[in-house]
Amino acid sequence: MTPDVDSLFQALADPTRRAILERLSRGPASVSDLARPFDMSLAAVVQHLAVLEGAGVVASEKVGRVRTCRIEPEALSLAETWIKERRTLWERRLDRLGDYLDATKPGIEKDQT
């Protein structure tokens, strides 16, 4: 499934989450493996992982007592990245078009047509 663009960008906006992804790009890891290099609680790492899973860039699987995480390569393929960037480019353009329309709004009397 293709994750929506907003949640992907939200997921990637955080440097810790990018570091987690960078670690996972080298291979699957358990939650405690992932937590080790970061100066934060296991619970905080689990929270970051939940955001990454929600955005569809990370998947995890629990076997016994160990949860193993891996990157979803499709979500981060370059093709997907480019297409998402293109979409974001247009989101921003059309937002700026809205700003332009607001800034050039005619008087109220003309608006009530």
């Binding site: 960008f9 992804l21 960078e22 790009s25 247009w90 078009l97 329309l101 709004k105």
Partner: protein
């Protein structure tokens, strides 16, 4: 030798504007307005001039380069223009010397409950340029960095 690949994708972006279809169409199609919103990339980009010949069969071009990066170039051809209603164009994008995409772009403009809805649909063939192995070598981290900078 470049490894050839193509990915087809369609995406749609919609906005409802508090303006008449006439104003939305004018803002979408006049050069003065497009300079404000179309080519308004982040400030440290070096921008080339926007050329626009807005008529059926007319062309548009623009370019821009991020600092220390390869330049993007946009070249479009307008196929159908129905004032205040629809615009159909095709465009290609180059990154440096490589063609990275060829797209069909359809803009629909319609009145809707006192507002004007603009629906932009792009159907594209995204070409091997984006799958450049040199880019892949930069690794996931570099991709993520550029993605975040882009947002």
């Amino acid at each position: 030798m470049t490894e050839r690949s193509v990915t087809h994708a369609t995406f749609t972006v919609e906005r409802a504007y508090d303006a008449t279809p006439e104003r939305v169409f004018a803002a979408y199609t006049t050069k003065e307005a497009r300079l404000q919103w179309f080519a308004g990339e982040p400030g440290d980009w070096e921008k080339g001039p926007l050329e626009l010949d807005f008529r059926e069969g007319g062309r548009e071009s623009a370019s821009g380069s991020p600092p220390n990066g390869k330049g993007f170039r946009y070249d479009a051809l307008y196929w159908e223009i129905i004032p205040n209603e629809r615009i159909v164009s095709t465009y290609e994008m180059h990154l440096g010397e490589d063609r990275i995409s060829v797209s069909l772009a359809t803009v629909e403009i319609r009145r809707e409950e006192g507002k004007t809805r603009l629906v932009y649909t792009e159907q594209g063939a995204f070409l091997d340029g984006f799958d450049d192995p040199r880019m892949r070598e930069q690794g996931v981290a570099a991709q993520l960095e550029s993605l975040v900078r882009f947002v």
